[in-house]
Amino acid sequence: MAAETITAEASPAGVSGIAAAFDRFSHRHAVPSRVTEAGQVALDEVLSNIVKAGFEPGSAGRIDVSFELAGPVLEIVVGYNGAPFDPLARKDPDTRASLDDRAVGGLGIYLVKKLMDEVVYERVGGDNRLRMTKRIDR
């Protein structure tokens, strides 16, 4: 089993740093590229939503991310302080609408659900936590 934890501020720079850490983790543990790419997209969706949602003025946004490879399962856990918010509760977007009627809102979290095998939201203490897993062997 391999595991790594990183804490970053809720900002575009923080998101970049987490993406780079996930790249290194995947490379070091020979995670297949299709799984790494799915994980990168999922991380970008979740983290950019957190940054966009913003935090109370004066309260520093903090994101804790852990990557874990246990046997054939990659687990990415994103935790952050802030008001309770379950992104999974959002209605799936209409992916068959025409060019003019197409909306991008909700597309990100929809991609996360589709790209990962399992996505679970939990409220732990004062933190929101999103746990995402994907098997690397199929």
Binding site: P12, D44, S48, V51, T95, S98, L107
Partner: protein
Amino acid sequence: MSLEVREDRREAGLLVSPVGRIDSNTSGELERVLLARAAEPRLVVDLSGVEYVSSAGLRVFLMLARKVKAAGGRLALCSLPASVKQVFDLAGFTTLFTVEPSVEQALQRVSS
């Protein structure tokens, strides 16, 4: 972590090739370059050098398609790597775009 956007003016149309990852950090740069080219009558975007695309990038492609359509131009995307194709398919974007397997076929498509 960055994105480079190359441009190549061909006889059949303008070829734009983003190279790198298209995510929340880099989509602004892609938006800046691509939307400035939306008035091109024949535009091809070669995605062969793209590592992955998140919804921030999909938003840019959607805006581009609308602008090209409004300007009466023709747009084709080509050479989507597997992970990019998967995201386009999941989002239902493959049906919104003309997608070709190679640069040559895409250039032919916009110029025929």
